[in-house]
């Protein structure tokens, strides 16, 4: 009898707590509580992610050993092509430098990057979020772009705490950015869509799009610098009645989820 009464008391208490949480969630401004909890748990989450990444790497290595000989042949071919490309690149750089000197234009300023470790991802994918181990103390500010090795866009900083920051990933429905195809044939506005994909919208109907064509940032949104890799076109959607067409993209960051990212602290505009 007593046990039953205690249980009822706990149920009532939990229901009251749920109502209170719904009220506070609608009210917002819970950043101080979040900050304290993240600060206390970040070392555990970071260690767990580090351990998991190492385990996952072992799995990948075992898989790679099986396909080693095939990959060596492919890599040799790729290496030959890259050497040709590199020679051409050197030639173009020399030509570019000569032209800059002739026109009196200085060399482009490099970006100032700060490396950061990803501590955790949104636990239930209610939104596409990640938490990194750099915060206000390190000079991180909201709206700073975050990239991965290889100039792949990861997202932008949304909320900054003392020692950590929340990154809203490009696949999140709340994230908007401007993109352009690598060939320059089509440009539009990108936003997150269902299942972690991206949709490039407001593309002129006459623009030519091909599957697997890479899409990069155009720099028009004022957040992401020009030329960062966003993803590849997976599907082209065109309706007869509309004046624009759309393209569904596979985000490049999803191919290899990173443990290290870079915050662009300062960039050339």
């Amino acid at each position: 009898m007593r046990g039953s009464r205690t249980k009822r008391k706990w149920i009532m208490l939990s229901v009251a707590m749920i109502a209170l949480l719904i009220f506070f969630a609608r009210l917002g401004n819970t950043a101080p509580v979040e900050s304290v909890v993240v600060r206390a748990t970040a070392p555990f989450a970071a260690s767990a992610l580090y351990a998991w990444n190492n385990i996952a790497t072992i799995g990948v290595v075992v898989g790679d050993i099986k396909n080693a000989s095939k990959e060596v042949t492919l890599l040799r071919k790729e290496n030959q092509q890259l050497e040709e490309g590199s020679a051409r690149h050197t030639e173009l750089t020399r030509e570019n430098d000569a032209l800059r000197a002739q026109l009196g234009v200085g060399a482009s300023r490099p970006r100032i990057l700060m490396d950061a470790k990803v501590i955790a991802f949104d636990p239930l994918s209610f939104s596409y979020y990640a938490v990194i181990n750099k915060g206000a103390r390190d000079g991180v500010n909201p709206q700073m772009p975050v990239i991965m090795p290889g100039d792949v866009v990861f997202g932008k900083i949304k909320n900054v705490h003392e020692t950590t920051s929340e990154v809203v990933l490009i696949a999140d429905s709340g994230n908007k950015m401007s993109g352009i195809t690598m060939s320059g044939g089509a440009s539009g506005v990108l936003g997150g869509a269902k299942g972690g994909s991206l949709v490039l919208d407001l593309i002129e109907k006459s623009a030519e799009l091909s599957l697997d064509e890479p899409v990069v940032t155009s720099g028009l949104d004022g957040v992401y610098p020009r030329g960062l890799i966003i993803g590849k076109i997976a599907e082209v959607i065109s309706h007869e009645e509309g004046i624009f067409k759309q393209a569904r993209l596979r985000p490049a960051y999803m191919e290899a989820l990173p443990s290290t990212v870079f915050v662009i602290m300062e960039q050339q505009r």
Binding site: S14, I18, I22, A25, F44, A45, L124, F126
Partner: protein
Amino acid sequence: MKAVIFFVTGVAVLLQLTVAHQMEVFGAPFNFVLAVLVVSGFFYGNYRAIAFASLAAGLVLDSYSGAPFGTITAGLLAASVTSAVFSRVLPREHFLHFLLYTLVGTISFYGVALITMKGANFSFLIPWIGAGRVIMYNIAGLALIYGIYRWSILLKNRRNGR
């Protein structure tokens, strides 16, 4: 038992923050924390420990989530309340009981989480189409856990000659 529930919930929280996003089906990851709370509610019925564990786990997960703070905590508490209510009225012996228990726990989690996120002003149908698939995915995972648990008991009994 309390300590075991807290320890396993802690491990589930770490898995949720690190591994879960690589196990996404229908655009949503498996809910390890909910699985631990529902399974321990069904087998052990220690409601007080489960309520505390869901509160602590929910606060941590909410801090790392992009959803409004309180969404996951409210959902987990709702699941533990339904666990408590069900443990009073439902026998806990058969797989079908477990399935019903799981279904109600999972629906209450996602239901309360959706209401917390969207408030009362949202089209009721659209979010539930996505959530329905996620609920099925989680129930399938929980049924698998139940199967493994029962199988381990069967093996143990066979080894003991029972």
